[in-house]
């Protein structure tokens, strides 16, 4: 489990397009850099990120080492009904981190 920071507007009007911001604290070791002792740091990355709203998928990202440390994603979402916005990250070992936030639509 890694620390996450997400920003979902607590309220929105129906049909409004809101901006969702997410970040997960993760080094995203790309497998190309060395320690000061000269040993290679093995690859250790988040491989998958997804967001679901009202039970349906909004976005799914497959990450590669080309994504910076502390992977940050911002994307638009159309508010339709009150519900939970769920986020899920999976690292290369299969460990899963989740987060969710309620959005009231009225």
């Amino acid at each position: 489990m890694f620390n996450t920071r997400i920003r979902v507007p607590p309220t929105a009007k129906p049909g409004e397009i809101v901006e969702i911001r997410t970040m997960i604290m993760h080094p995203m070791d790309n497998g190309f850099s060395y320690t000061t002792q000269g040993t290679l740091i093995p690859q250790n990355i988040i491989t998958e990120f997804s967001c679901h709203y009202l039970g349906e998928e909004v976005i799914l990202v497959r990450l590669e080492p080309g994504i910076s440390a502390n992977p940050y994603f911002t994307f638009p979402l159309r508010a339709e009904a009150t519900g939970t916005v769920r986020f899920r990250w999976m690292d290369q070992h299969g460990d899963i981190t989740t987060a969710e936030e309620e959005m009231v639509v009225e």
Binding site: L60, R62, I67, R78
Partner: protein, 149 residues
């Protein structure tokens, strides 16, 4: 036998037309073909927003937006971003689900050197759209010391 001057000029002209994908390194073209199939790449209404000059390649802000209503049959299903000179050229692959209201994403990427970023997006009908942007990178990622991301 003499070759007509017109044919020579025509031939020269076709080799000089800068097809965007032809400028892409073969390795990256292979990756595009693996992910999206061999279809032709059309210049698409894609906005790649990233700084023209990046001080550090460790974290370069990037926004990609493919213009699409994202309704009914007229939607972008997925896209991928490629950094041509990175040791691992695929930066990320994105799939847009039924709740996506715009084919847009903002993130931070790593760049090893001054290079072009290529975006390939796939429409629901199978069309492949592409766009590229050049970025100058002062200090590349991959070469820096640990702890400095």
């Amino acid at each position: 036998m003499t070759i007509p001057r017109r044919h020579v000029l025509l031939g020269l002209a076709t080799t000089l037309v800068p097809l965007p994908v032809l400028a892409t390194p073969p390795e990256v073209r292979d990756r595009i073909a693996t992910l999206f199939g061999p279809g032709p790449l059309l210049q698409g209404p894609i906005t790649l927003d990233l700084p023209a000059l990046a001080e550090t390649g460790n974290s370069v802000p990037l926004t990609v937006l493919v213009e699409s209503p994202m309704t009914g049959e007229d939607r972008i299903t997925r896209l991928a971003l490629f950094a041509e000179e990175n040791p691992r050229p695929v930066v990320c692959e994105v799939a847009f689900g039924p709740r996506a209201c715009a084919a847009s994403l903002t993130t931070n990427i790593r760049l090893a050197a001054t290079q072009s970023i290529v975006c390939v997006a796939q429409h629901l009908d199978g069309r492949l759209l592409t766009a590229r942007r050049e970025v100058r990178v002062v200090v590349g990622a991959c070469t820096t010391l640990p702890g400095r991301y």
